[in-house]
Amino acid sequence: MTHQQNTLNDPMKMYRDKRDMARKRVTDKYAIQGFISSGTYGRVYKAQSKESDGRIHAIKKFKPDKEGDVVTYTGISQSAIREIALNREISHENVVALKEVILEDKSIYMVFEFAEHDFLQVIHHHSQSRTAVPMPVLKSLTYQLLNGLLYLHNAHIIHRDLKPANILITAGGVVKIGDLGLARLTYQPLQPLFMGDKVVVTIWYRAPELLLGAKHYNKAVDVWAVGCVMAELASLRPIFKGEEAKLDAKKNVPFQKDQMLKIIEVLGTPEERDWPGLKNLPEYSSLQRLDKYHDRLGEWCRTRLNSKEAFELLRQLFAYDPDNRLTAKEALQHKWFQEDPRPTLNAFASLAPNQGYPQRRITHDDAPSMIPLPAASQAQTQTQAQQLAQVQAQAAHLSQQLSTHPHSGKAGSAASFASLSGGAAGVGSGHARKKTRLG
């Protein structure tokens, strides 16, 4: 085929060839150390930069689209576009930093800074060792979480999926909010938020206005989730652990009765006087049909959060009326953070050296094709094999460590890096953290 004919049939071939030649491949820049987790979005790997700094990263590979066995282009998902677009603009100590995006062979790789721990892992660690999260740690984690959230909210980003698995912590005790796959810019939206995603926020962390079918919601949904996360750090289990009602055949969103019940069992049945506008919410009549409860958050806190100020903060994070709920900024100014122990920059600062949390567990990838090996020389292949052996040895070592704890059969929160959007992979507690996405 002559060049000219070629150009006429596929005028962009020359362009693509040029770009393909210039492109640096993932495996040129990073040595994959092992597999961290998977979810509906794809898979996450731990990788070391081949640059001189040798930094550790987490590489999130979006699942390529397949038609039969052939990988094909079907268009980049809205969620990937969102996560990429938002991450390219933001930069904050308490939000996971995106280093770069690599587009290669029909796949998208997002290279993030690596974080050794996450809230879910910390919670599991304590629930397995039957110890409480030390108050200085709990307070620092909550403070830094709110600090990251304040940044996002100031930038007009609603996260919409805050939960322990999505909130990472570096080895140095710095909180990093992760997974902006469901996050949205709310500055002058072209269409109302509920049009895009009918269901947002994992059920246990979902704010009452969402459960009651509000068409308009705002940043306050994230603040509610922070309340849930703080309570979970204190009690080591989700405070409102409801059963999710499934979508019906027509994909209508049902009233999440059980989840609402779990909330009112602790916080009491909401009244029109604490939440003006309550009566106008679509699911108000469903709420009326539930049994009535009194507020017993104080009682809940007494055994779990032995601090009056902590209780006060939680109370205000759990305000039923979204307009009455604290903002991230107000929460940061709460008295609890001003009384001793003060929050620290390194959330683990108060821990003794032997009190640390286990490292994130990595495993050998059971789907090695996800990161293609370079068409490499023998030597390179050998190095890879050595690395793999190392990884496996390390994993074995880690699982030995873990097995000293009574219930640590599973990978635990190692599987939770950068969230499990579908809740598909195993989470240590045995409960799938559910979230349904529509549209």
Partner: protein, 389 residues
């Protein structure tokens, strides 16, 4: 981020100067008789983006984002080495997602095909290569996002215009664009200037400013200047063109107010800004527009430059016609005496030009003149060698 333009990818990586623009067209310019044709192509492509966007029912802001993506793509590529039509479709497809109002890929493909390959109209009959396969468009999207360096958040002058001039009940903007106000909208602080005060414009003038902003996307102005300056230029031009507004300003300046406009203007601003509900504050006098513009704390020389650019764009646009009948008759007859350049430029002519550019480029690359060391040329040689062997 949404409020902080100064740390945005838009400001940090995509505000370019005219030298960068010239460099970006260095290859294309070898294949046109006059640099002006490249401006006509820029005008023509933006028009196609707007047409495709309308067919897909995209909002104006989505169309603007698509146009900015297109311009950014061609900062790194040449018209003569690519197929701008599939790039246009991919820009619309990605922009819809980036602006949170996605459209299905098959709609983009079918609308683009009907727009670009329609045999019924002679206008675009030159464009025959638009693929019917969704995967082709998705592939283009993939490469496009790569060339955009994944910077998908774009700032537009519309936002400044709304912040500066939007008022409750103004149907120009609220109907056309604002969408569901109240759905999580809170006015962030203005990212430049004093951040205070609103200009109360005549409805007609406001609409005119809006249209001027739409028009700026037909040129490369959106790459050269930050969006808030483009918005202020549009306000400034609308004030000068809109009859009633101009009348007001003339009255103010003739009555001697102009001499004191600086101090009066700033007084007026402080008064208004001290009251958040400025709409309830009834002014006795019409607002001092000149004073308001002077008080914006932006580089007025730059505003003048942008005004010049917009005026030049309109001059160029006057010589462009999509009226198909001019294609054959007027365009070919009306050739200026000084050269062979036709006075009226039509889409048909531009498509032919594009084809000639592409063919010439292709011939150059595959011919003996191809620069050694170019990856593409090497690749082609390899391909031929393989075919021969």
């Amino acid at each position: 981020m949404a409020t902080d333009f100064w740390v945005s990818s838009h400001y940090l990586r995509w505000n370019v100067d005219s030298a960068v623009l010239r460099q970006a067209r260095a290859e294309d310019i070898q294949y046109v008789d006059h640099p002006e044709y490249l401006d006509f192509l820029a005008l023509f492509f933006a028009g196609l983006i707007a047409k495709l966007g309308k067919k897909l029912s995209l909002r104006q802001r989505v169309i603007a984002t698509a146009t900015v993506f297109f311009r950014r793509f061609y900062l790194k590529n040449s018209y003569c080495e690519t197929d701008p039509f599939i790039v246009i479709a991919a820009c619309c497809y990605v922009a819809a997602k980036a602006e949170e109002s996605p459209v299905h890929i098959k709609n983009v493909v079918s609308e683009a095909r009907s727009l670009f390959s329609s045999e019924a109209t002679t206008l675009y009959s030159g464009i025959k290569t638009f693929p019917s396969d969704n995967a082709k468009l998705a592939e283009m999207e993939f490469y496009l996002v790569g060339d955009l360096e994944c910077d998908l958040t774009v700032f537009h002058p519309y936002r400044t215009l709304m912040t500066l001039c939007w008022k409750e009940g103004s149907d120009v903007i609220s109907e056309a664009e604002a969408g569901e106000l109240g759905a999580g909208i809170d006015d962030g602080p203005r990212y430049w200037g004093t951040g205070e005060g609103k200009l109360e414009m005549h409805e007609g003038a406001l609409q005119m400013a809006w249209f001027i902003i739409n028009d700026t996307y037909r040129s490369e102005i959106c790459l050269l200047y930050p969006p808030h300056l483009i918005a202020i230029t549009a306000i400034y031009m609308a004030c000068a063109i809109h009859q009633e507004t101009r009348g007001d300003i003339e009255k103010q300046t003739q009555s001697g107010a102009y001499a004191f406009s600086g101090s009066q203007g700033s007084q007026g601003l402080t008064r208004r800004s001290s009251r958040p509900s400025s709409s309830s504050y009834k002014r006795q006098q019409p607002q001092d527009i000149v004073g308001f513009l002077a008080g914006l704390n932006v580089n007025m020389a730059l505003i003048a430059t942008i005004t010049q650019e917009i005026v030049s764009l309109y001059a160029l646009w006057d010589r462009y016609s999509e009226d198909a009948t001019t294609d054959s008759a007027r365009a070919s007859l009306k050739r200026s005496a000084s050269g062979s350049r036709p006075e009226i430029i039509t889409p048909g002519l531009l498509i032919q030009l594009l084809w000639r550019m592409r063919e010439a480029r292709s011939a150059d690359l595959s011919g003996a003149h191809s620069t050694p060391g170019r990856p593409v040329a090497v690749n082609k040689m390899l391909e031929r060698a393989q075919a021969a062997g």
